[in-house]
Subunit: 442 residues, 2 copies
């Protein structure tokens, strides 16, 4: 299935027991992404923000990504030097310098504001990962050094996105890696909060570019956030949310440019009376593949989806039509850039699976409603169907889970549908708190 639903922390993970030794207001992990530290001016603003937090009485551990375009510039350099695909191990050696630069610069900026600060690379901070390059998962954290530095009164800056294997190889965590570093560190040092500073000021009930009356949510549950993260909301990476859920880390998403209150992500989020849906998300990165006239035999589906999985192609929604004359039609969705490879795979298994034809369809979008209250509100699904068909739009595919429901529709009608659903589920009005889609670059 598409999305990373496996836990990011392997069963081997061992967080060290830790007794806080000083009375402080709070132990806070703050994470700043690449655009928050995009240039020297922004870096200084971030330093001011951290120093304010420390002077309020917080012990601060700061996780920072590479500055703005650093990573892209390094990738360009590697392309100049290397014909073909460079070794992922050497790319990790190369790219991890980006965070090492930003974390040492941030430490200097904080020091020149009169606070004690010290920076650590991923390996120095004790972040251990699987022996995989380019997209390793954290397997455990040994936070002794971070804790010792905190005890000595330092603000501790840790390079995000990176770790080390048991064999002292430098690794990167892949997409969303710095979020995961922050959450896993917060779990390991039993932080009171993990604040994710980003370029939006919280999680919205839907994409404000489509629905101007979308509202910022005060709270959202881990499960709801996970569905939204997997559904294409760009603010928080699913891995980080999974880790927060597993170790019950209190996450806050807020803006690095304003002092507005952000959105809390926690175990149980307060739901307004009578409101079942917290937010509406959409995902344009979706295409449908149909296998037509498949001869009905046991094991046919297993061959198809086994072959796709072998090629690392994630399949999302799967629908099978009824059987007519011993033949059935199957449809499923994949990411847009997997369409050609998926068609190739299916054509190659023709000797194992009998079918008449295989087709693909793009120009689609997946619209999803998400809310922990859906399970106890049986009318929620009916409302979604009524709203979409009321606009004269046909629903191509449907999938449901305990806390979400997704429909595939043609992409040209996306804005209408999201607006109508936002209104129908009572998300436009009042002072309720809701959840939302990608509110990026506002």
């Amino acid at each position: 299935m598409r999305g990373e639903l496996a836990f990011i922390l392997s069963p081997r993970i061992q967080f060290a027991p830790f007794v806080r030794e000083r009375i402080v207001l709070a132990l806070t992990v703050m994470k700043f992404g690449g655009s928050s530290v995009g240039d020297a001016e922004r870096m200084k603003r971030v330093a001011n923000r951290i120093v304010e937090r420390a002077r309020e009485g917080h012990q601060c551990v700061v996780v920072v990504s590479a500055m703005g375009d650093t990573t892209d510039d390094l990738i360009d350099l590697s392309r100049e030097l290397c014909e073909g695909i460079p070794s992922q191990r050497e790319m990790d050696m190369l790219l991890t310098t980006g965070e090492q630069v930003s974390c040492s610069l941030l430490a200097m900026a904080i020091q020149s504001r009169g606070c004690k600060a010290v920076s650590y690379t991923g390996w120095q901070a004790g972040i251990y990962t699987e022996p995989v390059h380019g997209k390793a998962r954290i397997t455990g954290i040994q936070p002794w050094r971070v804790l010792e530095s905190l005890k000595q009164g330092n603000i501790v800056i840790v390079a995000g996105f990176q770790g080390m294997t048991q064999e002292s190889e430098i690794t990167t965590l892949g997409r969303g890696g710095s979020d995961t570093t922050a959450v896993a560190l917060a779990a390991a040092i039993i932080a009171d909060d993990c604040e994710i500073y980003t370029d939006v000021d919280g999680i919205y009930s839907t994409d404000p570019r489509i629905v101007p009356v979308a509202r910022k949510l005060k709270e959202i549950s881990y499960d709801e956030m996970l569905e939204l993260a997997n559904l294409g909301a760009a603010v928080l990476h699913p891995r980080a949310v999974e880790c927060a859920k597993r170790y019950n880390v209190n996450l806050v998403v807020r803006s690095s440019f304003t002092y507005n209150e952000g959105t809390q992500v926690k175990e149980e989020a307060v739901m307004e009376q009578g409101v079942a849906v917290r937010g509406i998300a959409y995902d344009k990165n979706v295409a449908r593949i149909s296998i037509l006239g498949v001869t009905e035999k046991p094991g046919q589906l297993a061959i198809v989806f086994g072959a796709l999985a072998d090629q690392q192609i994630d399949v999302d929604i799967i629908v099978q039509s009824g059987v007519i004359d011993g033949k059935a039609d199957f449809s499923f969705t994949v990411a847009l850039n997997d369409v050609e490879r998926a068609l190739d795979v299916i054509k190659k298994i023709r000797h194992d699976v009998e079918f008449r034809d295989v087709t693909s369809e793009t120009g689609l979008v997946k619209v999803s409603i998400v809310g922990a209250g859906m399970v106890s509100n049986p009318g929620v699904a009916a409302t979604m169907f009524r709203v979409i068909s009321g606009l004269g739009i046909s629903i191509n595919m449907v999938s449901t889970s305990e806390i979400k429901m997704s429909c595939i529709i043609e992409s040209s009608r996306l804005a209408e549908v999201v607006k109508a659903l936002h209104t129908a589920y009572g998300l436009d009005a009042g002072e309720q708190v809701f959840v939302g889609g990608p509110a990026d670059r506002r």
Copy 2:
């Protein structure tokens, strides 16, 4: 005394015993400086050169500096972010990324030429240093990982200029650090050669910008090279030469841009019959300070030079005049940028040392003749005096050692003196092999 005459490796240094397991033509350490890998094109040329060496049957360990201006760019960034002097620890975190970038890129470039390669940071390569930032000395090397990678058929690329303390703090080695990394690694893995690739094609009998008939030397001894390195020849750092001498590493200085034979630096260099002087060096970074009318009492000199040493001011040549009426004059030389501080120090100790006046003089230069054969050729000193006074130039100060003799003269006459000495010691003619000054940027 000026110059770093202490051994770079502390008594704690422990090189691991190592049994070579494969028969290869040679095990070679190659070091490329920042200008040799200044841009992508130069980096590719370096990669070609290494691959050629490997295909000839060499096992290669490559030490590389940061690309061209990387270090300066990083320093500029730190200045933007940090008022005042940044913490040296954080500077080390920042600057060591430069070598990490160049060594991973070089590994990729070599891989795309069809050879196996792997890059290591200083700490990954097992380079341990003192717990000092900005100018740490190597205390030991644990080369297991480098050796294991060689055994697996890799070209091993190691980031120069950096190491790690026992407490896992990242350190830099200070000026000439990459040379030292290369030599110390060569000692630790018992390499057959340590080739220093630079922008000149060897060591010259003197600076070819001043004496066009200066010649490249085939050989030079460690001691001679040390005198020249300390006297301002920019090609090899004294620390690296000291380490090579101590562990008897066969050094070769050669050009990264040509295939000309370089200069070998080794224990015993062949000396031409009847030629006592191998080369002529000069150092413009010299100023004279004179303390006049010092009352003759025991311990006065100890107070003066003790106070200077406390302020980390290196003193080179010291001369005392005869005592007249219980008063003496002292003169000594310091580096140009230490003059003001030295004058301050002396004025402050006026209550401990009685003297009439203190003065400073610039516009001077130190000219030195170097050669292991000097000790057995008593006429060498007389020739130097005769040549200089023959030009009508007065000698301000003189100092001698077993293998060198230095005179302080006015700097406007430098070129004449070096040319005349080069001729007088027979360095212009024939096919003899000699040693020389800074032949940089030729």
